[in-house]
Symmetry: C2
Subunit: 260 residues, 2 copies
Amino acid sequence: MCELLGMECNVPTDIVFSFSGLALRGGLKGPHADGWGLALYDGRAARLFLEPTAAAHSPLARYIRDNPIKTLLAVAHVRKRTRGPVTLANTHPFVRVLWGRQLVFAHNGTVRGARNLPVGRFEPVGSTDSEHAFCALLHRLERRFPRYPGATPELWSAVARIGGDIGKRGSFNFLLADGDHLFARCATKLHYIIRKAPFKNATLADEDLSVDFAEVTTPRDRVAVVSTAPLTRDEQWTAGVPGSLWVFRRGRLRATLPSL
Amino acid sequence: MCELLGMECNVPTDIVFSFSGLALRGGLKGPHADGWGLALYDGRAARLFLEPTAAAHSPLARYIRDNPIKTLLAVAHVRKRTRGPVTLANTHPFVRVLWGRQLVFAHNGTVRGARNLPVGRFEPVGSTDSEHAFCALLHRLERRFPRYPGATPELWSAVARIGGDIGKRGSFNFLLADGDHLFARCATKLHYIIRKAPFKNATLADEDLSVDFAEVTTPRDRVAVVSTAPLTRDEQWTAGVPGSLWVFRRGRLRATLPSL
């Protein structure tokens, strides 16, 4: 299994604190030593950092912690291989272009028979069930919306419905980003928190690293963070209901939809 | 205008020496301060480092120089903006999936009316003529070869022909990589060298940085390097003929084709 991390904000925010917590689980405090990846949006495109090695010992992961890049939307993943060998092509997050924008996807779980799902023009490069399921999701989204529909409930419910369909094949916890939204589907385990004023102190669950968010934010800031397991031990995280989808936009939870 | 750098080898090789020379031209010794990018293949997928800022002063570019990653195939670019604003989406190299592999492209020059070229399923994300021309090239390659044809002269001549067609619209110096080949089209200016035994010393043209390749290679190694301008001052680079395409595979120049 793997761990997911997503962040979606109303002002550019660096993900260093949360990413540090995730990276610890990538081979040091957790068993997720088979690769890691981080996608950071800049408009409709995302910068992608990938390594098919443990995040906890990665000089590149350390570089990212030492050189924070601010973003409105980020998706990260640490991998414990279940399907497919440990290669760059099998390292999450995956990226494809749809609607003239990059869509980013990371998955925790296993989708049985993913290779039987039609993918249309969205060809997999690697051999994971995760990438195949992502391609199938994009194919169905494009059939439903030939053009980007914008921030509409129709888009949100389509992601929930397609996620639920594919999720019947196993365990389909995922994060999907489109440059404007972060979609987070809970199949078995997922948590979120929205940090907003009044900001407080937070301490990483796996390490004595803490940050006083009041010092690094303004009262208008809203930062939604989604993670497989709570990353901090002194904040109140909300657990997802299996078979549901969260939709985040501009640091707000815009919808919670059934995804069965 | 921009500068291109490509490397294609028969054994995994790090690109640090050549990339250092290119990075110097990204804002320090050259005027190419509007972004840089580097794609490093690992099988059929490529790791991509992009920054819409000057390479010469980039901590990420320094990280890459300090933490060499070995690869068989790499494409790099430093950008001097001519069309499109300085954004991540407009930063070369560009990547798309075709034939179940990632294809990587970088361009030096300007293609007039690129937006009029049909791109089929290959949607641009940014606003450059370069990305649009890449999408058009992929669209035509896919129509000619629905599946990857392998290392065949038919593929090589198709790239030369399509490159020549698009090149009629302006200045279309490009590097195109498919995981197995490096294609290099010269419209106005391009150079290559093949380093092989007996290896010698080489010194960067723009800096007193030199390397003795005999110390870091084996007699079997073959490394093809393509660059807009020669990167070293004590090696013999071959200049491209305008309107021609080089095809490199396993460190050898496999073909030089007209591309008019």
